[in-house]
Point group: C2
Chain length 342, copies 2
């Protein structure tokens, strides 16, 4: 009784079937073979439990049927939802998904990008933060397609899939305005992050469109982490003239803001109105139900995966593609209607 079963190779199959390796290889790769031989090969494959050695194949074809997904964090819903979708689509095409999480760290991001290239992935899906653009250019040059998510990179022609962040914010703030709010605070992300810039733009634009002045004191910048939400919401509350409503522009900070509110025992929406971001589960579990902006994360993942597949097949039509998906607003009960509204 052998302990270790040696995997059968094509050679074994060929011998078993009484044919040449070449013929077996052809059959496996979809090239016509005599009906009779087809049968014999199938038989041999079954008998020997043969499976192609992807490594050996990769050596020849320069393909690994593996793609890399590089995201800021595995502990954030936005990323994992996308990854989940991507993984399931890629698998259908036989690709495996290597996950790398760069924990919001530019250096790590760059390192892991190199790591993926070094692993010879056939393509990369990247939620970029501070990547060195030359790396992307290099990859593209070496014929490794890259799909960006959420943020384009200046000076680089690259496919990108993102949510319409600007209008997401625009619409959210518009709801607040139409319900009578005039002092609307916004808790933004880091000023050097694209999504954050866009969301702030939306906030500004809707104010312009309603001809409302913007009070700089109502704009605060966080870092997309929970603690920011706590701190900045507290700052708002401590202001002499606090906002009647606050729009919080990502999930983690929304969490933080609510914690701050809770710990000061402030009633939503009686004392302050809130629109948050991104997590339906959270929205439903908070009392009262939160109004939130929901990004089409599944769709983003879907588009990114399908686009990548297309590129890996060598189809460069429409390059560089920009897919901009609409967000939705889920209305809860966290926004008060202000009487003073005319």
């Amino acid at each position: 009784m052998e302990l270790i079963k040696i995997a059968a190779t094509m050679k074994d199959v060929a011998e078993y079937a009484g044919l040449s390796i070449a013929t077996v290889s052809k059959y496996i790769n979809g090239i016509k073979v005599k009906e009779e031989n087809k049968k014999r090969i199938d038989e041999a494959i079954k008998a020997l439990d043969f499976r192609v050695n992807e490594i050996a194949r990769g050596l020849k074809t320069k393909k690994t049927t593996t793609v890399g997904v590089l995201i800021p964090s595995l502990e954030n819903i936005f990323s994992t939802t996308i990854v989940s979708k991507v993984e399931s689509i890629l698998l259908k095409y036989g690709y495996s998904t290597i996950i790398c999480d760069y924990r919001q760290n530019r250096e790590l991001e760059n390192e892991k990008f190199d790591f993926l290239i070094n692993k010879q992935v056939d393509g990369i899906i990247l939620v970029p933060y501070g990547i060195n653009e030359s790396k992307i250019i290099e990859a593209l040059k070496e014929d490794i397609p890259v799909i960006l998510i959420d943020r384009s990179i200046r000076g680089v022609d690259c496919d990108i899939v993102l949510a319409d962040n600007l209008n997401a914010a625009y619409n959210a703030v518009e709801i607040l305005i139409t319900k009578g709010h005039r002092r609307i605070g916004i808790i933004c992300g880091p000023q050097d992050i694209y999504t954050a810039q866009e969301r702030l733009k939306g906030y500004i634009r809707i104010h312009e469109d309603y001809e409302l002045e913007i009070d700089e004191n109502l704009i605060k910048y966080g870092d997309y982490e929970i603690q920011s939400g706590i701190t900045l919401m507290n700052e708002f509350l401590d202001q002499k003239n606090p906002p009647s409503a606050v729009f919080i522009t990502n999930y983690e900070m929304t969490l933080g803001a609510i914690m701050a509110l809770n710990s000061r025992n402030i009633k939503i929406p009686d004392e302050i109105s809130i629109i948050g971001f991104d997590n339906i589960q959270l929205a439903n579990v908070v009392k009262p139900k939160l109004s939130i902006v929901v990004q089409p994360m599944q769709q983003i993942g879907e588009f990114a995966a399908n686009l990548l597949i297309k590129r890996m097949k060598g189809d460069d039509s429409g390059f560089p593609a920009m897919v901009r998906l609409k967000t939705e607003i889920l209305e809860g009960e966290s926004v008060a209607v202000i009487n003073s509204y005319i």
Copy 2:
């Protein structure tokens, strides 16, 4: 100007350095080389930007420096926290992590396990659900180490890392008991899932230890999904003699239970006490702050990753290892003290 840069091979390096491929290979693999040659090779490597082709190396060594992680869902904190930790540790050792998500589906789980084997991963970390045990045995036989998380598999000797689910439940329910609760409901997971069985055992054991009778009406079985939490909590509330406290045994169902409570406007802990599971963020955002059982997910990931590395190195000491980690209880304000307690 060439568009596609061809990666340098060892042959190129050897030629550039005026040495044989063998020498270069040796140097790269840590075998002694004359100081002088060392320098020349280093120079060549830098000049040509050479990196070993892992694929080619893999063909020879039968190693891919890739591990597979197979989890029930990428949209659940328990799994992603573990994956995140695992990924970061493995990377340090040069391994990449292929993620597969089987969405609580036994068939998918089995398929993806095969997929990973077929991809020739060097090791697997698995949070099992309904895997065919022969697959694990087979993998182990073929010298592909497997580390189980959260659930052992009957009749299979395999390393495993898990939380002490039994005592997690035991301790949680004990808190309820010492605060005076006597009618304590439990929302369990599926009866065929190991963690669910263990948590129920804890519930039963603590009742025995306090010599309390168990009312079958207070034990409900869900499927670890949000909807279960909603439905079962509602069932409790509709009972003629509802429990004064409910212990909910995973994160998703905790979410659901809270939603049910909220939508019926039931006050925690005045009208009902609650202990939930697994998500600190959730616990802090719910009002009042939730008491929850917290699993040491990071630790689980850490142990699993390190154990896997050890096994992949060929160190079989202590096989099969069982690492059982303690949980913690984070006390919030969701449990009332009942006066009637003597």
